[in-house]
Symmetry: D3
Subunit: 331 residues, 6 copies
């Protein structure tokens, strides 16, 4: 059976950033798998599995940096594949996918709440917080702290080129939180006033490095210079098991017209415009990662990875190891 | 005699940033003094001096951070005041002002050329340079190096909120220099490729601290982290003698609507917008200041200050000292 | 049944610092639970459990920073509560508490010895060691190294305001160890001579931060500046499971008259006296934590926490998670 | 039965560095145990075990710093000792040793390949790599990256005093990799060009410190200064469980005539020649350790140690603890 | 003529710290020379000069670290010696000494006022300042800023072992300044709140290093870690010309009974007590030195030294150079 | 007249490093000018001047990095050229050159002695010193300190590729100084024992950067990491006036066969050998420069340059400035 148009459309929406944010992308992918499963009209379990794999591949190819995407799909598909031998008929198979998708989404939302609860405990009354871009997990902490009655103030960066900081300040102001907007170039000037930096993450690597919105790594460096603590809020499905076996996280380079509007680009001939979407913050500039499993230092990311994705990592290592052997024999 | 409208208009143009850049402001002020002098219609030298002082005060109050402005005015007015006893008639007085203004402007242009010559020698064939904002002195170096036939590449920051970086890339591209534009948030990502950072300055303080366009200090920090050398190009009239006696350089805070366009500001109620125009780069992040007197480490700024403005500094110290005594007697 | 006076007295002794030191506080609390259990005169297991809970609460409220206290009480009470369904009569219940208290105390002493053994192996013949305050675990290492025949020299800080350093130098000198006393202000002056810093801990947080006697964090910074390695000696019952879910460790502020004697305080009107009892050393300044489970880098504290207190952490996360849901429903 | 001459010879070859490299030493030791086992002519299992212990002791005493050596021997001997009760006759015992030795050697080779696979993924097209000495694991990565078609360039240090760098450049050049040789003193000069440092390890300590060829720690420091990432390639049998209980890794001091040739030493009377073979790189200068289990931050070495050598560590702790008790009773 | 008892007594008062503080010591020495001169009863100018030299030597030997002392004496004696040939009679000689002494004292007081004026300009409304020990120059700045109407808050350290911080808090509180006292061990804990550190100096070396009360260098380090600026207030007579030719500034080690009261010392047998009075703060931790000549970076101390003591330095170099030659000839 | 063969030979000896060391090169050049002057056989002063200029050019082209060479030649030639108008006949001209050459050599030797005297005062009894390569100025300090009776110990690096460290240890051992030789790779291992690093310089740049034997900059970095002070011993004729106007100091790259002996090079095909002779130590890693004018911080190099070479710098600036104008007119 062909992949339905509904799924193609969802994939395009992720690719075109109409659906954004590591968490939303992951939940959308889970829903897409569920939907694709429901739309499946055949009765052969084998064929169904192949069809679901095709759907998975289409979703996986939408955004290179998003680790949450393969983690969501793995969560669901592994439950299907691991139980393949015990599955009686197509309905059972579909039930597995439906339940797994629901479970993933539920856990994802729960994770956001728990991160809010845990992170908010770290905030003191009177704290001045700096945040960057528009991270659900980081905002969850800030808003929860405010709900707990803590008197906080927030500085948010503009976050060029897409100005996600404007969304952040609006959301926080509507909650009644005092908030200031600063250009990305003014961070060092205001850092001396800041008590804590709280940002989100798109991916966490095996050595604790944090991939997040471009600009995060310089904020972390500037905070480090001023002895200001940096917290990264990240659900465990943002931890990348593939980095354990050496895979690099690709830094997406987006279109120049996000930086210079299309209509003006013609005036800037022979000028190259760089527009990387993310950067990598080394673990030494991160004080702690706040996950739904608790607070960990970035260097303990590998512990989370082993606990949550141990079987994937083993699988990867097994494949690497076999590929190797084949290569040896074919030489 | 009242201060002529022409002068008022020039003052307003400086205040409103229609005339921008430390160098241009200084030369404009020199020209304004010259013009005011020519427009003076009286014959009393005493009255003329008072009139010129009024003109000076109006010009001095336009921009708080610009050190070049009082230095230009001091250059001219001190020549008038020091010779006050020897002046025969009003024409002689006017001649002093005219000549001093011409001399200041000539020196200022010469300084820019010399900085270009000196700085360009520091650039190696193949260098990749990062610059920020739109500094005449920094561009003078880059363009001169290109003219010398050195194969260079330049990264320029956008420089939010006013996007002066767009002017920079245009100017350099027109000269045939390969140039890339990057958002202010992407500096740490690209820093590993950079060989040298070259920026301008609005003011140099007694301890070698550099006041320049907001964002400069974080660029310098990021360069320092990656062992990339930072050069500041600055004419000696940007060195601030007042900082020797402890005066702080005021960091101008500009209008929020430079950050969020006026028409949209209404959507951002209860949100404070910060828009500082400059920041301060500590001397430990600056490898050298390139002046028309030669290259110096930032810590030798005091040497330049003593050589160029020794008499002003003595004057300041004398006044501080006298004020003090008066206070003692009036207590 | 009411909480017996003996227990109230013990609680007061801990609060008033007549019983001091994380280890002694923990063992005293264990003994207090045992004593309270023995003093219980009723026969109802349910009532007994409630009574023991009251006793626990009274003990828990004595010192805010001491993590060893709740860990000791948890050790004992969890054994009681987890077996509640299987308990036949009050004697069985009391036996559980008695055995658990004895077990805790035995382990605590064993831990001190093992830390001495393990840490002493890290000391080289000829080492000059700096210690701060009066930590049993740190002294255990130093004394054991001396017993092993290693030729060592020790510098001890005065440790204002309570001069615990004077106890330290006495104890070490009596063991025949060469020892020097230095004011807290002279640490940087002598640091170049020091080979290793060895201090204790009152609490270890989830990210490896070390809470210890005020002054520890600046010693660690000064050591770091001079490439001198810093070791923290800490039993695993000083690791704080509550920090995994974001709880902050409260830094106790003690009475001003520890700084300025009461009789003189009247001379210092309008002067605020700060007397924080602890500070927080960030993990980047700690080379290793020496526990009875072995030597770990501070970033691996979370590993110890998961191994030793995994069930408490899960419990905490479960509660956080449920609270959350309730909140959602009550909104 | 006496230890056969063949084994004595192998031990001497390791001691005299005719057999070099942590991996080769480990595999040679495994083979030596296997050989010794085969040469055993008796029939008593008990006597056999004692004999094998003697063989082990002889091998263990050859090189003080090599952690791979006791790990290899432990791997084999523990399999023998743990099954001692179930062993029927001498042939069964020999089979256990033979199989364990074969297993160790197979795993060791596999580990090298996997490290190559994993590490090569971290290398980008165009990377310029610096390596030091002549590490199989580091070269495995570099060569694999080259085989993957990545365009790389390598700088190798001379590695005084034994010039192992000359072997490295030869091996790499033969594979068709562009390679440059630099004196150990020129590292900081070239570091600005380097993208990644990749070195091997002789031992990894419990806190993530890396013991490797003398000079490694200054390369890591110089890389850190220039924001260049440092990767250590190390099989897990190089992780030292003894360091968990505080054992120091002895830094071997080798003969002066490696530095000044014997024939010239007479000209340098009253001159001390220092020739330490290894140094210790602190974990803060290492970005990741690449093992056959995946990539970890150095601070997670303890995790590998617990997983791979948990039972040895427990054994050590038990012994420490018992020794202690005896001491207490004999006092 | 013998040195009068009055002079001997003054020398003893300086030695015994009954007269303390670099400024007061210098002014006392100036007064002592004046007094000695007046007490001189002879008529021979030659004999008078020898007598004055003896007096100078006695004063110079009282405190090893105090640079202000030789600078004061040099100020006066050089005026006498340089004019020796032109002096008519003993009265003229005495007048030179009297005038020079008065001049030195006047300048010294003026310097203190000017430093207050200059430094106070650097303080912003709302600043929280940390000071150490009890420095007239530092307090001059703080009090002047308060008099200017700036709303400031001050933290002062206890400054063990002599608790000079208690004098500081009293003086400031009496002026109506809000002030808090902290133990020397709590500096890192409070540093995040501090805006500026302001301390005095006992001596400034040729490379800008600052010799001041023990504890200063660790405060400067802690400030540096937190991006808090450090200002040193120092009259130019505290700059040491002898350090230009390599003389080391001796760090005075004072009596143990300042640390442990005499009556208790007997309880601390076999314990060495260290009591260094000063430490050395490297120039990289000092942002600026505030002198009566203006604000300079520490690296420009050599500029002040050349301006103020150029002739002494030349003299020193000449002597070094001649000694050398003599040595050559006598060999 | 043609340049005599004697001069050509001297130039070749400098180029071929048969004459080495910045000081010896400078004095040899001075002697060469004197010799050339004496060999001149004509009578025309004009022709003589041209001849001397040719000689100067030949000498100047021998070694690119040696700043002492042009400084020596400038010293002599400027005396000739400045007096050109007053010169009566050829004998007078020759006398000027002869006297200037003698004067330069005398000053150079005197400078070495003074640096020894000044630097030796900075060394304390018991100091352990690290030196690199074979610097006359650094050794002058060490030997003088030993002669003063100070008990010192010296570590010297091998200094690959030319092993100048072997000369250093011999010279020092012959003086009776305890000395140890270490490979360049072992510096970080031994740095914790070192009290002071003392090295020479080939050139000092306007911003205080030190050009010296390859390896110096990493020694300075390693010292900085361990809070060990770094002193550079340099005569003022090593300060480079050309760097004030931006001239870069060329780092000489020497022949590969200094690294791999010629006879073996054939075995290393396709291997590039790098052999840079010098590196650049940034001023932040240098605590002080010890010159014959006294001790200065590296940032004050510009002060020495202005005092010693002010007229050359003015000359350079004038030429830069004129070139510029010409360019403007020819455009």
């Amino acid at each position: 059976m062909r992949v339905p148009n509904e799924i193609i459309k969802i994939a395009n929406d992720i690719r075109g950033m109409r659906i954004r944010g590591a968490g939303r992308i992951a939940r959308t992918a889970a829903n897409a798998l569920k939907l694709a499963s429901e739309l499946y009209e055949g009765t052969s379990v084998n064929e169904y599995v192949n069809y679901m794999r095709k759907v998975s591949d289409i979703l996986l190819n939408t955004r290179p940096t998003a680790v949450s995407l393969p983690n969501a799909i793995n969560f669901i598909m592994s439950r299907l594949l691991r139980n393949i031998d015990k599955i009686g008929d197509i309905n059972e198979a579909k039930a597995i996918v439906r339940n797994a998708a629901d479970e993933f989404i539920k856990r994802s939302k729960k994770a956001l709440e728990l991160i809010g609860e845990i992170g908010a405990r770290r905030i003191r009354d009177g704290d001045i917080i700096l945040t960057h871009c528009n991270s659900s997990a980081a905002l969850s902490i800030i808003i929860r702290a405010h709900e707990m009655g803590k008197d906080i103030r927030v500085f948010a960066t503009e976050t060029r080129p897409r100005f996600q900081g404007l969304i952040t300040v609006k959301v926080l102001a509507e909650k009644g939180i005092r908030v200031s907007l600063v250009p990305d170039s003014a961070i060092r000037l205001i850092m001396k006033k800041i008590d804590k930096v709280i940002v989100g993450a798109d991916a966490i690597a095996a050595n604790g490095a944090v991939v997040n919105k471009i600009g995060t790594s310089q904020i972390a460096l500037i905070a480090h210079e001023a002895r200001v603590r940096v917290f990264v809020a990240a659900e465990t499905y943002k931890f990348s098991p593939a980095t354990v076996i050496g895979e690099l996280i690709t830094i997406e380079e987006r279109s120049p017209d996000e930086v210079i509007p299309k209509e003006k680009l013609s005036k800037y001939v022979r000028i190259k415009v760089r527009n990387p979407a993310f950067d990598v913050t080394p673990p030494e500039y991160v004080d702690a990662i706040i996950t739904e499993q608790g607070i960990i230092p970035p260097q303990a990311a590998i512990l989370i990875l082993k606990e949550e994705y141990g079987w994937i990592i083993k699988d990867y290592l097994f494949k690497l190891s076999s590929e190797d052997e084949e290569e040896v024999t074919t030489k």
